[in-house]
Symmetry: C2
Subunit: 518 residues, 2 copies
């Protein structure tokens, strides 16, 4: 077998059997090899940022990595933003970047660039395959590195000649690695904080936002009175009826200051200590209140869920978790607003849904509106690199073909990776996209206001405005093969949502929702 065949065979044997691809000439032997290893499902994306975001969404839901196939440095560049988000989500991704043949590199051909430098910004492991005989081993090492807790982006740079030459051999399958158990001292330290009688917050993140960890945290809270919060942007958090529901830490520093006011102990379970998303003049970046002790119960690569269960056993043996009651909001009526559209979602969210949430400012009320909806998983924008929603929904739908996927997608962000809609159609994915069109980069209007009074000029505001012309997402979606409709009232949104949920395959509903800051 040639190098490409050995690579794909090794990936498949290790459970990596989906590859999101945007190939070029240097990857043509990988493409050709797909027919000799039919277990690998090659999924075409029309832009690399779709491929990388899809790999992120896939692994968040499948709990195993997908492959990504990118074309040289520029292809990696195009995929970089969503690899950044995957890195922040600690998502395992096997990122294969085709390169020129080894002997061709010294000629500095037009597509030559420093792939290693670009890859270093997102990879927790990277290697260039140097010999065809090593490709299988390199692929196995990449899978192992991607899956090494907490998970990350493993980049394997694959020269074209290493790929096309004969002499490849598949490596042994990679075995899953367990997270490191938490030391008993960390549990005892947390017990001391929780029983101190002082105001204590448990901050859940990473692996501790799945149901068992949420239940354990709720029992700890019931036994100790501690407040439980989830990190601002969880990679995947389970919510809804029958699941403990916790507020997420706020996005703005002011919100966090309010949430953590007077807190004397902050217990981190898989979460990082809170810092401001951005810096602002005269404001602190570290959001831990003065005098608050930070206790790391479990770091990112440790078994945070197990630690919470152990902690619940110790201090909450008989405590019952508080589970969200089944409760749906009333269906609202009238013109859509930022206030009422989330209620339509809450009222109609299907059983066992996956919500890919990039609604941004339009979606601030989604968590409360869906708290009592049927149990669902929410995926959020972990790294702040916008354009993640449509691609992540793509991957989630491929990972869980039996679950409906709801993509809540803001307009400005949508345009970074809009061609994901084509892949929704190509793969006939069961994704309903609600495209929140407020004709603005609304989050930046807020930030411009925060800059100060002198910032109100028309030329500045113009750069945050998405009208002139208005984007018509119904046309755009239809142009990519996704059935689409427009809603300007709550009734229209409800009707379109019901129809979309009732029919398999992709749909897009453009919801005209005025921005909070006009």
């Amino acid at each position: 077998m040639n190098g490409a065949q050995a690579l794909i065979r090794t990936l498949v044997d290790s459970g990596v059997d989906v590859c999101f691809s945007n190939p070029g000439t240097s990857e043509m032997h990988f493409v050709a090899a797909l027919d000799s290893v039919p277990e690998m499902h090659g999924v075409l994306a029309l832009f690399e940022g779709v491929a990388t975001g899809a790999a992120d969404g896939y692994a968040r839901m499948a709990d195993k990595p997908a492959g990504v196939l990118l074309h040289l440095g520029p292809g990696l560049g195009n995929g970089l933003a969503n690899l950044h988000n995957a890195r922040r989500a600690a998502t395992p991704v096997v990122n294969i970047v085709g390169d020129h043949a080894l002997d061709h590199k010294r000629y500095d051909a037009p597509l030559e660039s420093d792939i290693d430098a670009i890859a270093s910004a997102v990879s927790n492991w990277q290697r260039r395959s140097e010999k065809t005989t090593d490709v299988g081993r390199d692929a196995a090492d990449a899978v192992a590195a991607a899956c090494s807790p907490p998970g990350g982006v493993a980049t394997l740079i694959l020269p074209a000649d290493v790929s096309w030459s004969e002499g490849g051999q598949a490596a042994d399958p990679v075995r899953p690695q367990e997270r490191t158990p938490v030391a008993e001292e960390a549990v005892i330290d947390a017990v001391n904080a929780l029983t101190s009688g002082e105001r204590t917050v448990i901050l859940l993140g990473g692996a501790a936002t799945r149901e068992p960890a949420l239940v354990a945290a709720s029992r700890i809270s019931a036994a100790s009175g501690a407040i439980v919060l989830a990190e601002t942007f969880p990679a995947r958090i389970t919510r809804g009826a029958g699941v403990p529901t916790f507020d997420r830490l706020g996005y703005l520093a002011e919100q966090v200051a309010y949430q953590l006011e007077g807190v004397q102990h902050l217990i981190l379970a898989g979460a990082r200590s809170p810092v401001s998303f951005f810096a602002y003049p005269g404001k602190a970046s570290d959001l831990v209140p003065d005098g608050c002790a930070v206790h790391t119960l479990a770091g990112a690569s440790e078994d945070a869920a197990g630690a919470l269960e152990r902690l619940a056993e110790v201090i909450g043996k008989d405590a019952e978790p508080v589970l969200a009651a089944a409760h749906r909001p009333e269906l609202p009526t009238g013109p859509l607003t930022a206030q009422n559209w989330p209620d339509v979602i809450g009222a109609l969210l299907p059983e066992n849904a996956i919500v890919a949430d990039e609604a941004n400012t339009s979606g601030v009320l989604i968590p409360s509106a869906t708290a009592g909806s049927p149990k669902h998983d929410v995926l959020t924008l972990t790294g702040g690199a916008i354009g993640y929603g449509l691609p992540v929904a793509t991957g989630a739908a491929l990972a869980c073909p039996d679950r409906p996927v709801l993509c809540l997608q803001a307009d400005g962000s949508a345009m970074y990776t809009i061609s994901a809609l084509w892949t929704h159609a190509r793969e006939n994915l069961n994704i309903t996209t609600v495209l929140l069109n407020n004709s603005a980069y609304a989050i930046l209007r807020l930030e411009l206001q925060r800059v100060g009074a002198q910032a109100g000029g028309p030329r500045a505001k113009d750069l945050l405005d998405l009208s002139r012309p208005d984007l018509d997402f119904v046309s755009i979606a239809q142009g990519m093969g996704v059935p689409a409709s427009k809603a300007t009232t709550a009734e229209e949104l409800a009707e379109a949502l019901k129809a979309a949920f009732a029919e398999p395959g992709p749909h897009l509903i453009e919801a005209i929702v005025p921005a909070m800051i006009p």
Copy 2:
């Protein structure tokens, strides 16, 4: 003034008065400063790859740099592919990347990443502004570096606090730098080759594809019998009636081998020595024939045009250039094919047009069909990173508002930066896009064939197919505010082109042109 104001003032004073922007929170003070320096025209792009490609197109036509404003590492990543093309075009670009405040970086906030590493892959100069008092000087140094012959991408990383703090001061305007004159020895060496009686090719590239250099080269050819070729992908080449027309070096190594067969002297005027775009098993990367001597008349940063004129004086004192005769093809009729649509373009190309050519496989006959059309400039894909056509057309139209821009855009490549259409509409740019829809990555079908017989499997071919669903570019364009129509016959294309050229502002014509390899 604050740092942002000092930056923009310095740029404007040095002639950089257009900035293609896709800003975020860390760039908000730059955005706010636009109202205090109204000479700066901020142009909004909905994706960073549009902004960077537009800056490339702008500078190719304006012969001075535009600014680009990007948001942190992910924004730079999104813009990287077209910065790669700009680097290969030796286009001056002042690339401003906003970063977190200096003191915020150590907190590793979600959007933190290694901007320096990413920037290093495309920049010929890069610096992080460390103090507000230095921003003006840093901006001037960036402009100077971008404009330093032959031109390149200068990346200035601008921390948010350096931008927002008071104490900025504008730097003195940057003066243009001349290219290094060519030493007389290089001219004499070329004269010796040209008068040797041996088969000689002059390869034009870089600065030597503008009219005066083309005229000089034609005179040299007339006097010496040398064959003149242009590099495969010129940043900007002047063509059409009244201008000497030369073939471009082929894209495939086989074509180049044919063009250079038996050549004993290759004279490089601003061009690099030819290498294969990609490597192939058993084939050479260096395309210079055995026994052929390579003479560098002018390197990339030297005055290639001046050297050619000097050479023409020495050996072609009385030689006349051969200028292309005015001649338009007949308007074809019947269903569109890869063979006939270029004739429609050749027949109707307006006076003084700028052609942004990313037609790829569909456009192989464009050069011959337009050789006798009115004089025009052609911009090509210098770095092989697809998705350059629509953005480059954007920048060219802003640089030359009095010239019609024709964007010849292949379907697959279009989808990487499709949101450029929105900027065409927002800025009401006089761009006519002919979208060549062949429902395939046709170039990759060719490459897959070249891989060998075993590569013909359906799973491989599926990854190169853009149907299921077919992309409807009329819908997509209309969704972004660009009037659009579809043509399936030569008559429809001609009618739509005439209408588009007759009406200012953007238009898109989707031309259904079957792929050469089905």
